[in-house]
């Protein structure tokens, strides 16, 4: 995977300026759209005619935007492992599950052995058993637990060849949800409540103090009020902040020393190690940072659903995440975000809604959501065949992935394939 095309050398100095201007433009778009969506759902939607309101609520409910944001957080994390460091991880769902269960343990009445309850800045009602920590703390805790898990998984496996690594991660992605599914009675200790899962979780509040709500016109904005299942707008704000944090972190690391080391490893491991990049430490860092974001995604997903169930964490999640990263363009954070938002919306709302409309229109009875297997499979295959660098490629990724395929003569000339 040598990156030795002459263009790469020529464009290198000009590119970094371009990247930062480019990044600023995209970052402005992200903030702008995020604020616009919030303003629209908080203030404008209530004033629109009922027909339009129904249409918006059916095709673009804020709940599905929130879910898409969960996917964005995880996809940005996976992008660090797959896109930046070039390590194929097919078990990312493991971190999602660990994050979710950390939220379940630290924000619910699940550990009823603790009868008085442990409280810390929580919006949960007092005098309940279990552990009730503040949501933001749980985010940090889950991120750290997942980063630790990432290091534990990565340390022995990262010396493997790329395709073996993919399988080991896949194995972990299978084992960890199964452990959660089966661990309801480990010598009498209930770790995960088995298939029944952990539900409900504590209600969270955006801030642990301050006024309960603020009212502007027809709209009420929650501040320290415990959020129920229908306070999607406040949850939207929280999710956007978490997603923005992940995006910011991944962009900043990308520009720094560690990020450049990741790209170097992705492009040529041997050359990178010759240049003094410590391979193991750098790869482990990619795993840890990616897993941290997977953990954040897990907590956010648990809060979004107000529950944690082991059967939600299946292999399909890892593959859908991979499809998002591949579709958007490996290594390009903004492309990955667009891919994640698009695919997540399509999977959760677009396809079922389209199916319903289609079926009522033509009187058919086709189960459209079952086509998502075909959809995601085809995306992966077609992208790999025709546009390996994704829809919004980074110049650098394109050069690596679209490296001129060697002709047969060159191949005989000492090629190593």
């Amino acid at each position: 995977m040598a990156l030795s095309t002459p263009e790469a050398v020529d464009t290198a100095p000009a590119k970094s300026d371009l990247t930062s201007a480019h990044t600023k433009k995209w970052a402005l778009w992200f903030v702008g759209i995020a604020v616009a969506v919030w303003v629209f759902y908080t203030f404008f939607l209530l004033h629109l005619p009922t027909g339009v309101q129904t249409l918006v609520r059916e095709w673009m409910p804020l709940g599905s935007i929130n879910e898409a944001l969960v996917w964005v957080i995880c996809a940005v994390g996976l992008n660090i492992v797959v896109g930046y460091a070039g390590l194929l991880d097919l078990g990312f769902v493991a971190f999602w599950a660990i994050g979710g269960y950390t939220a379940g343990w630290l924000m619910s009445t699940f550990f009823n052995q603790i009868s008085n309850g442990i409280y810390f800045l929580s919006a949960a009602p007092p005098n309940q058993p279990g552990i009730h920590l503040n949501f933001w703390l749980v985010l940090v805790a889950a991120g750290c637990v997942c980063a630790g898990a990432g290091i534990i998984i990565g340390a022995p496996t990262l010396r493997l060849k790329s395709d073996y690594l993919a399988l080991v991660t896949l194995g972990f992605g299978e084992i960890i949800p199964q452990v959660f599914l089966n661990a309801e009675n480990i010598h009498g200790f209930n770790l995960s409540n088995g298939a029944k899962g952990i539900a409900p979780l504590d209600n969270i509040s955006p801030l642990p103090f301050g006024p309960s709500t603020i009212t502007i016109g027809k709209a009420t904005i929650a501040i320290s009020k415990p959020l129920g299942p229908f306070d999607v707008t406040a949850k939207y704000v929280i999710f956007v902040l978490v997603a923005a944090f992940c995006i910011f972190v991944s962009l900043r690391i990308r520009e720094g020393r560690l990020g450049r080391a990741w790209l170097a490893i992705r492009e040529d491991e041997l050359a990178a190690s010759m240049m003094g990049v410590p391979l193991m430490r750098t790869k482990l860092a990619a795993y840890a940072v990616g897993a941290f974001m997977g953990g954040l995604g897990g907590v956010v997903y648990a809060v979004h659903n107000n529950s944690v169930f082991p059967d939600r964490f299946n292999f399909a999640i890892s593959i859908i995440l991979l499809a998002m990263v591949v579709l958007g363009g490996m290594g390009n954070v903004w492309g990955v975000i667009v891919g994640a938002l698009g695919l997540a919306w399509f999977n959760s709302t677009g396809l079922p809604q389209f199916g319903d409309s289609f079926n009522t229109q033509f009187g058919t009875d086709i189960n459209f959501p079952s086509y998502n297997y075909l959809l995601f499979g085809s995306i992966l295959v077609l992208m790999m065949l025709f546009r390996r660098e994704g829809l919004f490629p980074e110049t650098r990724t394109r050069q690596v992935l679209q490296e001129a395929e060697r002709s047969d003569d060159e191949e005989l000339d000492g090629g190593e394939a």
Binding site: P156, Y164, V168, N182, F315, G377, L380, L385
Partner: protein, 349 residues
Amino acid sequence: MTITAVEAADSRPVLLRREKIERGLGIALLVGVTIWLIWNFLAGPVQFINVGLAGLRLGAIYALIALGYTLVYGIIELINFAHGDLFMLGSVFSAIVLVNWLGAGTGGAKNWALMVLTLLIVMALCALLNVTAERVAYRRLRRAPKLAPLITAVGISFIFQWFGLVLNGSAPKSWPKVIPEGGIVLGPVTIEWSTILVTIVTVPLLVGLSYIVQRTRQGKAMRATAQDQDAARLMGINVDRTIAFTFALGGAMAGAAGLLFLETFGTTRYDAGFQLGLIAFTAAVLGGIGNLQGAVLGGVLIGLIQGFNDGLPYGFGQKWSQTVVFTILILLMVFKPEGILGKPTIEKV
């Protein structure tokens, strides 16, 4: 001067401390498993043998699937993720052809003949499907970075799953089996008919496959292509056709495994392929990926391990059996990626 060189080659390589620790842990693990097996055998010999027979039956099916992984990996170093789903499609095709089209019931010479016919049809169908996938997708990516064909294989696995979902529906389906329940009773031990069927189908297939690879012209072409594609091409071997032939062989084995799975368990599930495929892949790695005998050995071992774990009084029980197998996969990958019969390889840079 040459004498010292020979002497140096003769002297044993010094083991690093880490290698010593790994070897020690490996031996401890094997001893532990042996003690566990003996203990279980003493606790209930009859149950031990019955469970072992069931494990062997499962192992034969795993061996057939593992061969498909190992053939493809051996020739183009691709982990064909879609192979497990191809096996699942094999079981669904078998059910549809045997029960819906040919209308076979249980027992009787006519039904047995129909089953043999189905076996041939399904092997051909799966071979065709695998060759199509190779032609449409993998062939174009042969010189691409390694990530690309791997992701493509995952995508094809999803497409196969969708196909299975369309054919089979989302719920598991039960089908009538040609082979009757029961079996040969030897005192307290029962050798089930399905175990016998699995044996009499698997053994000739393995012998035939090994004959093709070791003795025929096409097999020689396969081995040459696996060693060095360019040199093989220079020797006048049609590399594309040889690789397609390898995919066809692997697909045919998956089809046979599908029919045997149907006849053993009597159910088809659209999502069976992923987990069974992964277990079979573990088997291929255990035996040494790229090594045909290794795949069979690994398949039988994994089948036995799963059977013992599911059925023995001191096992973890069925709900943990996948976790056990995947843990074996991870330990193997980390400590002995070359498997039992494989040769250690150094990754080319």
